[in-house]
C-alpha cells in the first residue's frame, strides 16, 4: 500500500517556498492546521498567497503569519477578527480579495474537480460581479466564476490513515475536504494517525488520492473564539 506518512510538520512543509499559494483549512480557528502553521512560522517564508475562509486572530492561526509579514495576499470571505490585518491592509502592505463564502467553497471544489469555471447566482448586481461575465439561465442571472488552485493545501483532520484517507470531526470539517482536492501537494495533519485498514471505508470524508503527505500533529490548542455556554 502507498504510505504517505512523513515524520512531522517540519518535514511536511520543508519544500514550501517564498511566493507559494497555500490553501489553509478552517472556519475561524476551528479545524485549522496548527502544526503546519507553527512549522511555517519557524521558516519565515514570505510573499505567501493564502486562500482561507478567515485570517485568524492577532495571536493565533494565520494572524501569526501576518505578524511576521509572511503574507502578500489573502483570499477570504471574512477577515474581521484581526487588528494587525487591518493595519497592514490600510497601509497597503497586504492585498485582500474578498469572495462570497459559497463561491469560495465552490471555486475550490471546482479546482479539485477539473471544472475550470461555473455559473453562480451569488454576487449578481454587486461589486463582486464587476468584470465578470453575467448570463441568464431560466430567467435568472448568474456570474461566471473560475476555479481556484493552490501549490499546497494544508488541511487538518481528526483521523487519518497511512494511505491518506481522512475523517473530520464536527464543524472542524468546513473547507478542509475541498482544499484537500485542490492542492498540487496536499498535506494533512491529523490528531490520530492509524494504519490503513483501521478506518471504515464507507465513512471516509477525503479519499487518500487527494493527500500526498500525512503526519500526526502535536498538542492541538483548538482555541475557541466565542465560548458560549448555557447554564
Amino acid at each position: 500500500m502507498i504510505n504517505k506518512t512523513v515524520l512531522n510538520a517540519e518535514d511536511a512543509v520543508a519544500d514550501i517556498q517564498d511566493g507559494a499559494t497555500l490553501m489553509m483549512g478552517g472556519f475561524g480557528l476551528s479545524g485549522i492546521p496548527e502544526n503546519c502553521i507553527a512549522a511555517l512560522l519557524k521558516r519565515k517564508i514570505q510573499n505567501l498567497t493564502i486562500v482561507s475562509n478567515n485570517a485568524g486572530v492577532d495571536d493565533f492561526g494565520i494572524g501569526l503569519f501576518l505578524k511576521e509579514r509572511m503574507v502578500k495576499k489573502m483570499i477570504s470571505s471574512y477577515v474581521g477578527e484581526n487588528e494587525e490585518f487591518e493595519r497592514q491592509l490600510l497601509n497597503g502592505e497586504l492585498e485582500v480579495e474578498l469572495i462570497p463564502q459559497g463561491t469560495l467553497a465552490e471555486r475550490i471544489r471546482a479546482g479539485g474537480a477539473g471544472i475550470p469555471a461555473f455559473f453562480t447566482p451569488a454576487g449578481v448586481g454587486t461589486e463582486v460581479a464587476e468584470g465578470k461575465e453575467i448570463r441568464e439561465f431560466d430567467g435568472k442571472h448568474f456570474l461566471l466564476e473560475r476555479a481556484l488552485y493552490a501549490d499546497f493545501a494544508l488541511v487538518k483532520a481528526w483521523k487519518g490513515d497511512t494511505a491518506g484517507n481522512l475523517i473530520f470531526k464536527g464543524t472542524a470539517r468546513n473547507f478542509n475536504p475541498l482544499m484537500a482536492t485542490a492542492g498540487k501537494i496536499t498535506i494533512a495533519e491529523v490528531e490520530e494517525l492509524v494504519p490503513a485498514g483501521s478506518l471504515d471505508p464507507n465513512a471516509i470524508h477525503t479519499p487518500g488520492i487527494y493527500v500526498q503527505r500525512i503526519f500526526k500533529g502535536d498538542s492541538y490548542e483548538k482555541r475557541i473564539e466565542q465560548r458560549t455556554v448555557s447554564v
Partner: protein
C-alpha cells in the same frame, strides 16, 4: 417601538412547519428562542451543520462544534455534518427555504446592503451574498432608522449591495413590510402604539398603504 426581542418574536411567526432555516448573526439569532414548540424546523449553520442545538454546558464545550458566528454549540438527534461546498450547495440549490438576516439598508425593490461601508474597514461578506441570492424567502430584521435617524428603507440603496431583488419581507422596530412585485414597501403591520404617519415619515422609499394597517400580534 419594538425591542430586538420583540422583532425576533414577530419574525418567529413567519416560520412554517418543516422548514430549513438559516439565521444570521444578531437579531436573527434571537428568532430561534421564539419559534413555537409545536413547529418542527431545522436550523442550518453555513460552516457545515444542519440541526443547531443549544449552547453547551460548560463541561460539554467542544471546540470542534461551532456555529457560523464561531460560538460553541451542540448537536441535536437529527443533526448532520458536512463540508462548506455541501453547505452552500444546499443554500444555493434552494434547499434552505428561509433566510433571516440583518441589513444596513433595504431598497423598495428588495435590494439589500449589509456588508460594507465605504471608508470603514471591510470585513467581508462571508456567506451573505450566497444566502440572499438563493433562498426562496428572505426576511430582514433591522431597526427602521439608523442611529442618526436616517431611514434604512430607501428608494435605492446607497451602500454597496449584498444582493438585488431578493428581500421579501422586513420586520423593523416600527413595522412589518413586504416588497411589492412592482417595487415599494407594502405596510402590512405597525408596532403597538406606532402610527402609520410615523412609519410614513421614517420610510424614505415608496410606502404602499392598502386600507387599514393592523397592529402587530405576537402570539
Amino acid at each position: 417601538m419594538l425591542t430586538k426581542e420583540q422583532i425576533a418574536k414577530r419574525i418567529a411567526k413567519e416560520v412554517e412547519n418543516g422548514q430549513y432555516i438559516n439565521l444570521g448573526i444578531g437579531i436573527p439569532t434571537l428568532v430561534a428562542n421564539y419559534i413555537p414548540a409545536h413547529l418542527e424546523i431545522v436550523l442550518q449553520s453555513e460552516n457545515g451543520l444542519l440541526g443547531i442545538g443549544p449552547f453547551p454546558k460548560e463541561s460539554a464545550v467542544d471546540p470542534d462544534l461551532i456555529n457560523a458566528g464561531k460560538q460553541t454549540i451542540t448537536l441535536l438527534p437529527d443533526s448532520a455534518l458536512f463540508d462548506s461546498a455541501q453547505s452552500f450547495a444546499m443554500i444555493r440549490g434552494g434547499h434552505v427555504q428561509l433566510t433571516i438576516l440583518g441589513a444596513m439598508e433595504v431598497s423598495e425593490h428588495g435590494d439589500i446592503a449589509n456588508w460594507k461601508i465605504p471608508g470603514k474597514m471591510v470585513k467581508g461578506m462571508g456567506g451573505a451574498m450566497d444566502l440572499v441570492a438563493s433562498a426562496k424567502n428572505i426576511i430582514v430584521a433591522m431597526q427602521h432608522c439608523s442611529k442618526d435617524g436616517q431611514s434604512k428603507l430607501l428608494p435605492k440603496c446607497a451602500l454597496p449591495l449584498t444582493g438585488i431583488r431578493c428581500v421579501k419581507k422586513i420586520v423593523t422596530d416600527l413595522a412589518v413590510l413586504e416588497i411589492a412585485p412592482e417595487g415599494g414597501f407594502i405596510l402590512k403591520e405597525r408596532a403597538p402604539n406606532v402610527s402609520v404617519d410615523e412609519i410614513k415619515s421614517k420610510t424614505a422609499g415608496k410606502l404602499i398603504i392598502l386600507g387599514e394597517v393592523p397592529e402587530m400580534q405576537f402570539d
